[in-house]
Amino acid sequence: MTSLTQWKGHAWIALVVRLYLGGVFLAACFHKIAHPGSFAIDVATYQLLPLALVNAVAILLPWTELIAGASLIAGVRVKAASLLVAAMMISFILALVWALHLHLEMSCGCFASKGAAEDPISWRTLLRDGAWLLMSLYVLAVDDRPIGLERLMGKRRDAHA
């Protein structure tokens, strides 16, 4: 098991996965940050959170997506970022299962706010989120020496020492 996770090729595969996941999260956060009111309605539409928490989640979530996405791309605190991404994906999946269970005809609100007719939630949305969850878990599990800024800075420090 250990030798499986220590294969050197993981760092390069994980880099591709990180760039993809980071890009997805950056793309997802911008509209939400720019239009918090619209995103709050998206959150409320799930009818999952108590009203008092809807705005707090709508304010906090996009910035967490931004910081986690940027960290994945830059290669800074990659384990922590992938942990946050995995936690977010699990919560998104639970929310989607809830909405599908209630037969809510709505958009997932994952990216730019769209109407249910343009971007309806479905089991395909769930599969997509499941794939992203697996990617984040992969990075979390195997990317022990992530290629990126932090590693580069570490090498420089070592060279100067």
């Binding site: 309605i41 539409t45 304010i59 910035w63 922590a80 005809e105 109407g115 343009e118």
Partner: protein
């Protein structure tokens, strides 16, 4: 679980908590200074349009000059025929012709549900029965919330068409 692995997990958890704290600081700080920031605790229910189980068909009358008709959060629906709609309609209106003999299509109902509007205002021909009132009741019965119907229909609206039979 042994030493280095456990340490790595603890470090990841600690860093994740730190990232979350930084995100929270930036998020709530930005929200506090921006003009369109949200109240952190929402007290008034969001008006969301999703299908609901009760099908009571309730609608509320609204005056033709009510400012809500011009509100961006309002979806205005014209229930008259396509020809009447083409001849005149409110600039923001969409056309869902009401058919007394057939149910409104699921596509049209979904179009309304997907609009994300916080209220739906329907106007019809203003006749008795009024197609607007009938469509509004049908939409409400199919799960659309906050459905209003313009009293007097299109002829009562500013700049609207003449009532049928008028000289």
């Amino acid at each position: 679980m042994s030493g280095p692995r456990a340490q790595a997990i603890v470090r990841a958890l600690r860093d994740a908590a730190l990232m979350l704290a930084v995100s929270a600081a930036v998020a709530f700080g930005t929200n506090a200074v921006r003009g369109d920031g949200l109240p952190v605790v929402q007290r008034k229910d969001y008006e969301i349009l999703v299908p609901c189980e009760e099908t009571n068909g309730q609608t509320t009358p609204i005056a033709p000059n009510d400012p809500a008709l011009a509100d961006k959060a309002t979806l205005v629906v014209d229930s008259r025929s396509k020809q009447e709609f083409d001849a005149w309609h409110m600039p923001s209106a969409i056309n869902i012709p009401f058919d007394y003999l057939a149910a409104t299509s699921e596509v049209d109902v979904k179009k309304v549900l997907a609009s994300r509007a916080s209220r739906v205002v329907v106007y019809g021909d203003g006749d008795d029965p009024d197609s607007g009132r009938e469509l509004a009741r049908e939409l409400s019965g199919k799960g659309v919330r906050n459905v209003f119907v313009v009293t007097g229909g299109a002829p009562a609206l500013p700049g609207g068409p003449r009532p049928k039979g008028a000289p």
